[in-house]
């Protein structure tokens, strides 16, 4: 019973183009969503987040979009750079329920080609 799913295990994008990573969730109690980036042999590092009261959050080259009715969020990276090559995890939290835990998807490996 995976409440957060990333259906694309991998994605390959040309340097300079836009990378779009997708994530779907099933639990309507989730009210906070995050993206984490992970390099090999390192722990995940926080990238960007969005509250359920918003539909877009932007931070430099990274933008997260949230479609609550579709229970879908996406991460846009533009322009993509070689250093963006990593595994990206989508995560969700039910903050208002006091759950204090993140539920993660299985990750998407992004490769940026020069």
């Amino acid at each position: 019973d995976q409440q957060v799913k990333q259906n694309s295990p991998s994605l390959s994008v040309q340097e300079g183009r836009i990378s779009i990573l997708n994530c779907d969730y099933t639990n309507s109690m989730f009210d906070y969503f995050l993206w984490y980036k992970k390099y090999p042999a390192e722990g995940p590092t926080f990238l960007i987040s969005i509250s359920s009261i918003k539909d877009k959050n932007e931070d430099g080259r990274f933008t997260v979009f949230l479609n609550k009715s579709a229970k879908h969020l996406s991460l846009h990276i533009v322009p993509s750079q070689p250093g963006d090559s990593a595994v990206y995890f989508c995560a969700a939290s039910a903050e208002k329920s006091g759950a204090q835990k993140l539920v993660f998807g299985q990750g998407t490996r992004l490769t940026i080609n020069p």
Binding site: Q2, Y32, A41, E42, Q100, K101
Partner: protein, 113 residues
């Protein structure tokens, strides 16, 4: 100056052994977590401690016992290791009740042979 540090980074051990993984954070966070990344790459929560008090225990076999001597440390002890315990274990910490403030350690790759 590592914020969340785990030791060891790699652990290879035989079935039936008992092992421990240590975690320390110097961020002053109140909450610490253990997550397991399984063979399908999902990161799943195992335990959460808030100021030394256990607040989350997610249907983990009781062979796994977390111990928090103080709010900066959360260790994971595993008894009678099984092949299925092979995974990468991540420690994390966050300010109290704020999931978005997670900081992860670099992980411990446990291999049971």
């Amino acid at each position: 100056d590592t914020a969340v540090s785990q030791t060891p980074k790699y652990l290879v051990t035989q079935m039936g052994n008992d092992k421990s993984i240590k975690c320390e954070q110097n961020l002053g966070h109140d909450t610490m977590y253990w997550y397991k990344q399984d063979s399908k790459k999902f990161l799943k929560i195992m335990f959460s401690y808030n100021n030394k008090e256990l607040i989350i225990n997610e249907t983990v076999p009781n062979r796994f016992s977390p111990k928090s001597p103080d709010k900066a440390h959360l260790n994971l002890h595993i008894n009678s290791l099984e092949l299925g315990d092979s995974a990468v274990y991540f420690c994390a910490s966050s300010p109290r009740g704020i999931a978005y403030g997670y900081t992860f350690g670099s992980g411990t790759r446990l291999t049971v042979v």
